[in-house]
Symmetry: C2
Subunit: 342 residues, 2 copies
Amino acid sequence: MRIEDIAKEAGVSIATVSRVLNNPQIVKKETRDRVLAVVTKHDYVPDSLARGLMTRHSKTVGVLIISVSNSYYMEITETIQRRLREAGYMMLLGATDDSPELERRYILDFASRRVDGIIVIDASHENYASGFYPRAAAKRPIVLVHSDEAIRASGMREVFLDQRLGMRRAMDHLWALGHREVVFLRGREGFSYDLKQEAWSDWLLEHGAEPRPELVLRIDEGNTEDAVPLAEEAVSQALRGGLVRSAIFACNDLQARGAVSAVTKSGLRIPEDLSIMSHDNTILAVSGRVQLTSVDLKMKSVGLAASELLFQAMGGGGIEGASRRIEPELVLRDSTGRACNG
Amino acid sequence: MRIEDIAKEAGVSIATVSRVLNNPQIVKKETRDRVLAVVTKHDYVPDSLARGLMTRHSKTVGVLIISVSNSYYMEITETIQRRLREAGYMMLLGATDDSPELERRYILDFASRRVDGIIVIDASHENYASGFYPRAAAKRPIVLVHSDEAIRASGMREVFLDQRLGMRRAMDHLWALGHREVVFLRGREGFSYDLKQEAWSDWLLEHGAEPRPELVLRIDEGNTEDAVPLAEEAVSQALRGGLVRSAIFACNDLQARGAVSAVTKSGLRIPEDLSIMSHDNTILAVSGRVQLTSVDLKMKSVGLAASELLFQAMGGGGIEGASRRIEPELVLRDSTGRACNG
DNA sequence: CAAGATAATGTAAGCGCTTACATAGAGGAA
DNA sequence: TTCCTCTATGTAAGCGCTTACATTATCTTG
């Protein structure tokens, strides 16, 4: 069914059909109804490729995340998807596997599909520094969600996820409870682990404590479900080695769950004997016997902010003020308590 | 940058540029290199809207799921997304909130975007019965992922998720362990709860046991994180009422986690005093202190099968044999054991 | 009721590509 | 050389729409 067929059947020109579809009020009610009848009769939907070719927009937004199968990204994807739908946009979703190269390919592909805007979650420093984002942003609105100081100061549209603040809040809380030694449990590699470790280290230094290397427990997986047993194993071992004496900071809830298992199995109580601070505040934080104190990155707010910024941009808004900072929140639960030996 | 600009700069006609991009081998190496140089120089990517208008395909596939923020769907979305990318397709992702109406709107929208194919996860019976899917499938390949006997027999391309078999395996397992009374814990509403309850009920009847209504525990939420405390509360209450004596079947891992909390808090041991059978086998099943025996729906296989079917269809394959059945698998862990009073 | 104003519809150009067909150039056989 | 074949490139139509502009129908109003 093409617009021509509808026009023929309704006895009007294709221009009239187009008007009925795009500017109903300017066509006489009588004609309009006749056309609409034919349209609904055939379930006719105009070809948005052809339409986009003329109008220069596709009512489509490209969204990039590192991984689809990660609870941590679920909430932000959900939020963005919902907002886009409400505004009549479709979402093209791509997973980059944390590869800047793949990210670039996706963005070029988005461009060729004439998306009206792009949201990059966990934007890579590399693609910013090489000038790729700015170049792409010159052609169509791009919103960067990131935790990178350089991007923050770039003047691009961006949502800054203040992870250092989250770390500070977590450490402050432990400190206030009397913990003077905090073991740092992390995954193998990845920007966010490095950032957190740096923040952990800096914080300790600021408070006159030493970020001793043996306090860093590194497991080989980060975010898959294998992280749970690996973290458990790592913590058990550290426990046996007498390294864990006051508190543990885990980089995500999976690792924290593993830590909890290790600690309970060793006969110690949480939080009486040992505190565990977690990060991400996913469903895992509340699904076990001991509910985890966890840093919540407020991904819903992040998603909302990113969508808002993008809509503004797509509506022709300028770059000024197109910048947000979201504060992580510490959610207190049962896994942290006063230090017993503090 | 349009093809015309490239042509002009390379000193050739637009047809030649097009050929360089689509059929490199038919243009003389010398010319080709000259064109390619200009193309890369400007990061030129052809407008896929214009291209799609001619070629009649968009290299895009529409995927529909009920909810983005549900661990249960993460794996299948991930699998499909990965397969699509490998094959050079982009994924338009829509969340239907379990609304057949919204599902229809999405499918129409997909159609207008000239997607090359559509995958509907948890296809609705309503849209099948009303003839909507078949009508849509006449115009472009559609693969339905579902647990609906009617759709299974429809002759459409479909992946049948044999949930009844999963239930049977779960119940057989409990029965073999000596459990003769199985409490059924479920969410408020939704096809899959009804299907499971029916299977539970049928199974009991077949084994000469009675599916007594008071054995059905229904909480007001199903899949959000609120389900955990609600399930805990429901189970605690049933425990106090003396209703839970041998085993509990929970419709998903969230509910099972709530059940575990209730049971442990009441002082009973798992699985010595009470067994808990879970469903979905998400990360939650392995993240707590007691690891849950759970029915795994093999969503990765489902996703693979769905993609395969779609690729076949998009490649021009016929409808015959475009049908798969995936068997759920029972993953045995620590939450189920021999009945103590069996 | 003529005639200018206005509302409703039609005509046709063109969005950026692909591709059938036309054309030109190069090489080889007679 | 002439004619034919083959290869490389150009020309132009057309994909299904939107929209500026042209045209025709319908009102106003003196």
